[in-house]
Subunit: 534 residues, 2 copies
């Protein structure tokens, strides 16, 4: 045996599998737990996102309560309660005590949670930093179950510490989850309060009560009706990877290619399916699992070539232009807002759509970098803006065309707020902490198109304000000299100065074309515009 063989055999002994829970415990920052401030926000966010998903999916107007209390220095109790359908007793431990376990991963449907990592990740962090189990109270309307659980990290399995069952005379249903974790509490730009505020904005049909360290805040329901439930869909043939196609062919229940294409994909009718088979030179009655690798390649190519209509829109639940404009106006006190909701399109076979809202002037700060508000599937994103497809798209857009100044590679400058909402059956987050959207080329492109569309609409207004401003300047100038002009004219024409001045003022006021916009509004808008022309 050579020396290398000895080393290789020694190394082989160290090779072993890593449990998913071990992986995320050691890499807790991947889930958003790299510092105590962010950790506390992440726990609230994960539990709240799940609560909203649960109620919404059961067609219940969400009633969410969030409690955050400091129990010791840098140590907090976090409780989130919802009025959703609850989780059945048998599945409770796995749903909360096993990472990568959930109902949302294997379907194509727009929802806040996706991976089955959120709640269990919060519990994992809590037990890592305080050693305490999580308490979960659940009822589906039958008896109430209260369990305390921890995660067995090396196995990634739940470990039940206690289990109580109680009667439920009022038929309460929902989930209450409580953990104790290390954290630090702040209010301000990146905070629990800001997250809840923005969540209330993008979910106006939810009532959210926040009971935090500094008192209670209630976000009342602004709308009494739920938006339509987004539908679960099948993948669209465009952009489906060959590896995925291969696996779909292996596991399909369809008995032939035509059945596979029409049954396992969206937007493929019988004639499209026949056309795909013809293009691929494949017998449409062939069994799906009998295709050779070469045939799969041909099929894959043909699927990209055939003309199909875009994905259905009912799998996505946009906020809509009205809500976007109202929300941004309320949040920023902008003077002018304009929103654009684009039609759905596809990346990697997943339908998605982009909505954009631009706010201008008003109480927006002057001479500063534009404010960016980011949302994915109605969830506000507070961190990692620098690493987000939305930021990339904003930077790559030429804002000088719309009247703003912009250095290369930077966000635009000016009295500008930019809201971007990315809605998809599958949001490609840059990390499991779900704070930024990955820069898939199709996604960046679509966001840019939305920004350009909104930018053009905004530019019209900015130009308008421009004309107004110049008129106002001229008028101001004339008004300033009005007494002197009147006096001179009075001397020449031997008419009383007073009447001349009154008449001149009348003429002047006729020149005002847009009277609806207040003087202050114009001034606010102006400085910014001036600057952006430099």
């Amino acid at each position: 045996m050579t020396e290398q063989t000895v080393i290789a055999e020694e190394l082989a002994k160290q090779l072993r599998a890593v449990s998913v829970a071990e992986f995320f415990e050691k890499n807790r920052h991947l889930l958003g737990y790299e510092n105590p401030t962010k950790a506390l926000i992440t726990i609230v966010k994960e539990f709240t996102d799940n609560a909203l998903d649960a109620a919404e999916e059961a067609r219940i107007l969400p009633d969410i309560k969030v409690v955050v209390k400091e129990v010791a220095p840098d140590r907090f109790k976090v409780r989130v309660e919802d009025n959703g359908p609850g989780i059945v007793e048998e599945k409770l431990p796995l749903a909360f005590g096993k990472l990568l376990y959930g109902s949302k991963f294997h379907r194509l449907k727009m929802s806040r949670g996706t991976q089955g990592l959120g709640a269990s990740g919060g519990i994992l962090y809590a037990q890592l930093t305080t050693g305490r189990p999580a308490k979960i109270i659940s009822s589906t309307g039958k008896e109430i179950h209260e369990i305390e659980l921890m995660i067995d990290v090396s196995k990634n399995e739940p470990k039940i510490i206690s289990h109580k069952e109680e009667k439920n005379p009022n038929k309460w249903h929902g989930i209450k989850i409580e953990v104790e974790a290390e954290g630090r509490y702040i209010e301000g730009k990146q905070s629990i309060l800001e997250y809840l505020k923005q969540t209330a904005m993008s979910n106006p049909y939810a009532k959210i009560v926040y009971d935090g360290p500094n008192g209670k805040v209630e976000f009342e329901r602004a709308v009494k009706e739920l938006p339509p439930l987004p539908k679960e869909i099948k993948p669209h043939p465009y952009g489906v990877e060959i590896g995925l196609l291969r696996r779909m062919l292996e596991i399909t229940n369809a008995r032939n290619l035509i059945g596979f294409l029409t049954g396992d994909f969206s937007r493929v009718g019988r004639s499209s399916a026949l056309q795909i088979c013809k293009l691929a030179k494949l017998d449409c009655n062939k069994k799906p699992n009998e295709l050779t690798h070469g045939e799969i390649e041909l099929l894959h190519k043909a699927m990209q070539m055939v003309k199909l209509i875009g994905p259905p829109t009912d799998c996505l639940s946009p906020l809509g232009e009205k809500l976007l404009e109202e929300g941004l106006k309320k949040e920023t006190k902008a003077e002018f807002v304009v929103a654009v909701t684009r039609s759905p399109t596809v990346y990697r076979g997943n339908p998605f759509l982009v909505e954009v809202c631009l706010g201008f002037g008003g109480e927006l700060p002057q001479d500063q970098t534009a404010q960016l508000f980011r949302f994915a599937n109605k969830v506000p994103l507070l961190y990692h803006a620098g690493d987000c497809a939305t930021t990339e798209a904003v930077i790559e857009t030429d804002w000088r065309r719309y009247g703003f100044s912009q250095s290369s590679g930077q966000l635009p400058q000016g009295q500008l707020a930019i809201l971007i909402h990315f809605a998809s059956v599958w949001v490609p987050y840059t990390s499991e902490g779900k704070q930024a959207i990955a820069s898939y080329p199709e996604i960046v492109k679509e966001i840019k198109l939305a920004l350009q569309e909104a930018g053009r609409k905004l530019a019209t207004y900015v130009r308008h304000k421009n004309i107004e401003r110049e008129r106002a300047l001229r008028q101001n100038l004339f008004e300033r000299y009005l007494p002197e002009v009147s006096a001179a004219l009075s001397e020449i024409s031997e008419t009383p100065r007073n009447s001349i001045e009154i008449n001149l003022k009348k003429i002047l006021n006729k020149g005002k074309v847009i009277e609806s916009v207040k003087e202050e509004g114009i001034e606010d808008g102006e400085e910014n515009r001036n600057e952006s022309e430099e």
Copy 2:
């Protein structure tokens, strides 16, 4: 049964576990595969990092060959060969065909790979985009094994397509791995060539031959000796989380607390262990797995309170100030470089150290944002700079103190290059693609301290250049008027003008204090410094 119970039971049916391979296939961007350009770089990077690790761990001077060839439009064959110890036959399939499988996760030792996700992730992406298996050739010096494998995604298990065994008369050892994947090839700032160039810089003892689409490039070995092998260590008591402590207490082989503390941690001798037990008011002969939760909390607190020396340094392999300075000078042609290697410190119980090198002037571009070079465990980081602890630390450092201009929240401006090397037994990457370091507060702080230390040294030089520059300006001014002055003096003193001029020039030249720096060097440095004073 209420309506909610029905819904809850319906939802329960959808709950199920997600395989790690499914998770990363759907989230391929987490591994660095969100677009074809980055995907190609990531494959090369993962295979090369593993190759370097393998050779280095077996104390072999690395000899790496990287081949990238376009086999069809947007489709590449990538092959990486090393001269490491190889992997034994039985473990080959798991080592490459199962995600989260490896030898590096469960130990505390500085290495490039960590999670057991790199090579298998590349294979997963390749099969997803081309449907092709990976080919792996391995020998430990005995027979040569050649296997073709794919990953069974829904099970996260290897699937062997073919296996050949061959004789090995030359006792070759190492790994050759080859995949075919979708990609796009570029050269420039973020490219395979740049990654290999920087890798050669931080691993001067490796020979790397690159055979790319545009021809061959060889990076010769600059040093003929391997650095000392970093040692595997035990966790340091500072910063170990209570959840981890609890698990360590459960699985330890030690029979009592004193044995646990001295045996399972680094830097805890008998007297420190006794002190910890005393502080925690615990019997030092108590069995580790019999501690109650309250006792674990006391122990945890006591471990943070007792005074211990810092972690051992031999678990880390810094580049060293000499190599850093040579490397940065060669890469940027800077006029002046200064490096700082800090002593190791701890985050979350993990020892780490920070090295920084600053380059100034010379051929560095003027009037631009400082260039940032980032390394983690000798691996260059090319992406996600905006999301990296290194960038955060650079932004939070006040560069105006060292003679550079800087807007708030931005990188400094000027003829400045900043190289940062983070070395740790555990690098907390912001995502599995390993392109940025997570902003743990202890890490950001330590990087800032290193930058400040180097910044102060650089400032001395910058000030020096300052004095020189002013002297040069004065001299230039005087020289310009020399003919006039000489003429005037000649008239007054009735001496030949020529001799006066020569004598004046002599006096002038005595004033030059630093003659070693060339005139061009000064001018290069000046414009930048001027600007930074604004």
